[in-house]
């Protein structure tokens, strides 16, 4: 199973690189959806032959939420806001990819320094989770459009989720669903916030919120 799991984890990293390098917001949403879908399927792959109905249900619900529901909500918001591209991010796309590579190296280094007892079948999970967290955080900081920041938040959540998967492996269903519910609410609320920003300023640069300060 390690080969399959490693391949999925490598795809997660590549999705992170693509997110850092693409300026078209609809593409960002699609890549984010792909990453969410892959993260959702991780528990199934990680459990291997010992798969239970519970794990399968959690995996399907998470994959459905991250791969279809969130992207759908985001693209709805995007359509209403008439924005196609992120024109001027704080940090350019080429520099962002460099950051992606650096964060990857940093997370592998971090992983070699910390000795976790990894429950998952692949040792790659932890560094990939770190790298996703850093990528997500970076996107929140380096991008101006609110949609991209929401995607960054989701990527960071993906990282935290796979980290938890690697360390604990078995999270109670209730906790899992609670977290998912929170995320759903978060994306929902951020969608409304983006809508408001758009109505107030005619675009979705969260940068402009600074002008509201008295």
């Amino acid at each position: 199973m390690t080969l399959l799991m490693d391949s999925i984890l490598v795809l997660l990293i590549i999705a992170g690189f693509l997110l850092l390098s693409s300026s078209r917001l609809s593409n960002c949403i699609k890549i984010g959806a792909f990453q969410g879908l892959m993260v959702g399927f991780l528990p199934i792959v990680a459990s291997g032959s010992g798969i239970t109905y519970r794990i399968a249900t959690i995996a399907l619900v998470i994959a459905g939420m991250k791969g279809f529901v969130f992207p759908y909500l985001l693209s709805q918001t995007l359509r209403e806001s008439n924005t196609i591209k992120e024109i001027k991010p704080y940090i350019g796309y080429t520099a962002s990819i460099f950051f992606g590579v650096l964060s990857l190296v940093a997370s592998f280094w971090l992983d070699s320094r910390l000795s976790f007892s990894v429950a998952a079948s692949s040792r790659l999970v932890i560094p990939v989770a770190f790298s996703m967290m850093m990528t997500g955080l970076f996107m929140i900081v380096a991008r101006k459009t609110a949609v991209n920041q929401v995607i960054g938040y989701l990527v960071m959540e993906n990282g935290i989720y796979s980290f938890g998967l690697a360390i604990v492996r078995d999270v109670p269903l209730l906790v899992e669903l609670g977290v998912l519910m929170d995320m759903f609410m978060a994306v929902f609320v951020m969608g409304i916030a983006i809508y408001r920003i758009n109505r107030e300023f005619d675009h979705i640069d969260s940068d402009q919120l600074n002008t509201l300060k008295g």
Binding site: S7, F17, S21, Y93, V101
Partner: protein, 305 residues
Amino acid sequence: MDISRYMAVPLGLIMAPFLLGVINRTKAFFAGRDGSPLLQAYFDIWKLLKKDAVYSRTTTWIFRMAPVIGLAAVIIAMTLVPVAGSSLFTFRGDLIFFAYCFGLMRFFTVVAALDTGSSFEGMGASREVHFSTLAEPALLLGLIALSKLAGSFSLSGMFGGLSGSDWMGAGPAIALVAIAIFIVFLAENSRIPVDDPNTHLELTMIHEVMILDYSGPDLGIVLYAASLKLWVLGALIVNIFVCAAGLTGAVGLAVFAGGMFLLAVIVGIVESMMARLSLLKVPQFLIGAGSMAVLALILVLRFVK
């Protein structure tokens, strides 16, 4: 020794222009045309070799020397690339030598382009240098990842050391290297996502603009060297897949040639499906290849003992 060791270079020298024909035929198929004959590149080169050369008065000996040096460099690089497990020459660290054979070829192409004194060619030279600065790390890092994986610091040891079990153990890393080298392959050979080999008068062209002043035999040599470069860099990609099977001798040679044919078809498909990237996107594309190579290297360093 075995046949593949001595036949590899002649096979490349003879077959290389054929790949261009295959690529063009694939593109023609996708466009619904009949396309030029498969051997068109041979006809072109033969026709050019029979002609006389015209030299501009501003050019110096550098301009006349560059095609010959380019051809020599690429043939030397060709002797190092293993086909079916063995190459003509091999020594420790030849992968660096291999990469810088192309560096030498590029340097002289660029200097010759500057030698013509045309600002248009200078622009192409500047772009070529810019993009190859980004493509070279990707190629070298990818090769180093492979050499670490196979535990050998020479091209033939590296590809010879790859086996089916490596694919099982470090499949994602090898696939990443293959993708990274494929992107470098497209960029170095000025194929479509980076450069369009068919256009001559567009401001985004890179390689074609640098050879604009060549005529007659010189142009023939440049074309031939370009097709050899396509062959040699393509051989790296095909080797990644073919060497794991561990075939040797005539069978290995035949499988290798089939792989090259397949690669040319894939390049044709990529060219038919993609538009050329805008010039500003090309560095991103190449840095993407570089980051994949870095990722592969990290995976290999960390997880393959």
